[in-house]
Symmetry: C2
């Protein structure tokens, strides 16, 4: 069995709340993290909530990064969902932990789409695949 | 402790592959699911990959829905991330299971942002919150 996707659920507690409430800064950091992961960015969408909080998505060829922040709790939920073997999602997560000045991070890795296969696959970059008989 | 967010990781194996490779149809189904959950849609972004596969995001006031499909494996990874107590993410998941004619679904619920608090919170709809001493 191989997983088609690697999904990191990153819990960022005890962050710098000013950073978490700055949509422009949050977008900069998430784009930088996507680049660190080696992802190809397709589009970004970030939204500043009134009175507080930011939500944002970085759509990448290899899936997505997402963030939702609760500055009043000094907390952000980050998702880094990638496919293929070449990306470095954990490096992206580590960069975000440092960038948000997070004092209490947790990282959970979930393998998505476990299927019997030989070879590797990345969205938009199909390679030779063979189903295991 | 209460969770700020509810994150459903929905693994859809053995789906109808024709549906999974139709970006317009995938977007329709994801938007319908967001509406069933009771979410307020902010924006959508869907992408048809060449030669195969669809990725899409539905950005909602209450967080996001995401999908990545691998029609060649009859598989889709769906995320339904919501905050607040009023949404119905599991009903949205069930609707997608049926819409994609999924024969082997799995659903994992992850509580995101567990913090000590009294009251409820939804992005853009702050209510009276009190940190537990």
């Amino acid at each position: 069995m191989q997983a088609l996707g690697t999904h990191l659920l990153v819990e960022l507690h005890k962050c710098n709340p000013a950073l978490l409430n700055d949509a422009i800064k949050v977008e900069q950091l998430m784009v930088a993290a996507a680049n660190t992961a080696g992802a190809t960015i397709v589009d970004t969408h970030f939204h500043q909530f009134n009175p507080i909080g930011v939500s944002g998505m970085v759509i990448i060829t290899e899936s997505h990064l997402a963030i939702h922040t609760w500055p009043e709790f000094e907390y952000a939920a980050v998702d880094i969902f990638t496919c293929g073997d070449t990306l470095k999602p954990k490096q992206a997560a580590q960069q975000l932990i440092e960038a948000f000045e997070c004092q209490q991070p947790s990282l959970y890795e979930v393998k998505r789409g476990c299927v019997p296969l030989v070879g590797t696959y990345s969205h938009g970059q199909p390679q030779e695949l063979q189903m295991v008989p």
